[in-house]
């Protein structure tokens, strides 16, 4: 039995320490994924992801990498649900003078302002990709999912996923080459 097996078995038994460990291990990456994909309230959505994971914890079997992938697949579907809701109910901009309505640009100026500025720049660059290119790159980079796992999560072939990540990276490379600041 691996350390993860023991940890996960404890989580299945409802041990708070085990859940805290799982949460602390994965949540920063999952939250980053949600931020990059434009979640309106990434903290709330992160909570929903973990609730769903907890709800189905008895049904999962697999290793640590599998668990990580599973959590990201849950997050991916939550993001898609949110996109649908926002598409059906587009929000009316409150401040027309805002330069952009990129997701994640409404953070307060606080001690983490510099980090937020950096995050905002990355989000802006990724927002220039198609949704599918962005999904593929973020699932691969932040989620550490394999090409096959991303293909399964998105209902595509591995070849299609490779093409999406190739084109996405090319577009990003072009922007970097042309001097878009990071």
């Amino acid at each position: 039995m691996t350390p993860f097996d023991s940890l996960f078995a404890a989580a299945q038994e409802g041990a708070a320490w085990a859940w805290e460990r799982l949460y602390q291990d994965l949540s920063p990456a999952v939250r980053g994924y949600l931020v990059v994909l434009g979640a309106k309230d990434p903290d709330d959505l992160l909570g929903e992801v973990w609730l769903q994971v907890a709800r189905n914890v008895g049904t999962f079997s697999g290793d640590e990498a599998g668990f990580r992938s599973w959590v990201f697949v849950v997050a991916h579907h939550r993001v898609i649900d949110e996109r649908r809701r926002r598409t059906r109910r587009p929000e009316i901009p409150v401040d027309d003078s805002a330069p952009d309505d990129w997701p994640g640009t409404t953070g307060p100026a606080d001690d983490e302002a510099l980090a937020e500025v950096e995050t905002e720049r990355v989000v802006r660059l990724l927002a220039t990709l198609t949704a599918e290119q962005r999904d593929v790159l973020t699932l691969r980079i932040l989620g550490d999912l394999t090409v096959s796992e991303v293909a399964a999560a998105m209902g595509k072939t591995p070849e299609a996923v490779k093409a999406l990540q190739r084109r996405g990276l090319r577009r990003l490379e072009k922007m970097v080459r042309e001097g878009v600041p990071l």
């Binding site: 939250r31 992160l46 049904t59 668990f67 096959s148």
Partner: protein, 295 residues
């Protein structure tokens, strides 16, 4: 910013190829002259996953998760024992047939995910969706053979795609061969249509509970020795997201619509008659003939 979303530059810039892309995603520097900038950007994306979660947020989430896990289904409790029913072949309705491709696509995707991440095993507790699904499917006698695979598919889909899960359940029920199973299919079809295919609220707790309750009711009806009340479950299916307007369902066999006449049957037309003075009152309505008294 929109200026960057233009024509695809694949024709003019061949970097990176698949191998170079994999190296970039892994965090390796491919060592190409072009790679410096994009490698830095990939590192910046990755760094978004290093930002600490606020303590208060983490505490709140962990508390919620522990509470949820305490009542979540586990493989080691509440085994479900089903009953077997005599079988009679029924035919998939047009609704199910049209949805089958989508269900199968989702199923294939889920199975593929499962190969890498592990998927659902069977476990359910009273009150949740899976428990209702278990009981309903086993009650219609389809918890074996190929239908069991369909049930597993529905279990796997339930948290990621509720509509597809309902459709898969209906498909499994369609493999049952009792008239009651036919009624169950009809109710599940209605539920599938009401749950929708992506509408807001489809994943809501209320919808999930309603579907779970429907499946529980189907299971209970199927095990009722006094007979199966198809009208009752049809009505319950209609209560799922009642704001969704649907055409009236086409019922199979003996299961009648509930309080609604079929669309294709015109209402009865009154036949004009000539009033008979001897047998009508002053308003023209038929009147009972008065008994004659004996002289």
């Amino acid at each position: 910013m929109s200026s960057f979303v233009g024509n695809d530059d694949e024709m003019v810039n061949r970097y990176p190829n698949d191998e170079q892309a994999e190296a970039l995603i892994r965090g390796d520097d491919p060592g190409e002259p072009e790679s410096a900038g994009i490698a830095g950007l990939v590192a910046s994306i990755r760094s978004l996953g290093d930002q600490k979660i606020a303590d208060k947020v983490a505490e709140r989430h962990v508390a919620m998760v522990v509470g949820e896990a305490a009542v979540s289904p586990r493989p080691d409790r509440d085994p479900v024992v089903g009953i077997q029913r005599p079988r009679r072949r029924i035919v998939l309705s047009t609704v199910l047939s049209s949805l089958l491709a989508k269900v199968m696509a989702a199923t294939v995707a889920l199975a593929a995910v499962g190969s890498g991440v592990g998927v659902a095993a069977d476990a359910s507790v009273p009150g949740d969706f899976l428990h209702g699904l278990d009981r309903a499917m086993e009650a219609v006698g389809v918890a074996d053979g190929g239908a069991a695979e369909r049930i597993d598919e529905a279990r796997g889909l339930v948290e990621v795609d509720l509509p597809a899960a309902v459709e898969a359940a209906a498909e499994a029920a369609a493999n049952g061969e009792t008239e009651a199973a036919s009624a169950a299919v009809t109710a599940l079809e209605t539920a599938a249509l009401r749950v929708g295919d992506g509408a807001e609220g489809e994943q809501s707790a209320l919808t999930r509970q309603q579907v779970a309750a429907l499946l529980e009711e189907i299971a209970a009806q199927l095990q009722n020795e006094d007979g199966f009340d198809g009208a009752a479950i049809a009505e319950q299916a209609r209560l799922i997201r009642p704001e969704v307007e649907l055409p009236e369902p086409v019922f199979q066999d003996e299961v009648p619509p509930v309080n609604v006449p079929p669309d294709d049957v015109p209402p009865p037309t009154p036949v004009p008659t000539i009033p008979d003075e001897a047998s009508t009152d002053s308003a023209g309505a038929p009147s009972q003939e008065a008994p004659t008294e004996a002289p």
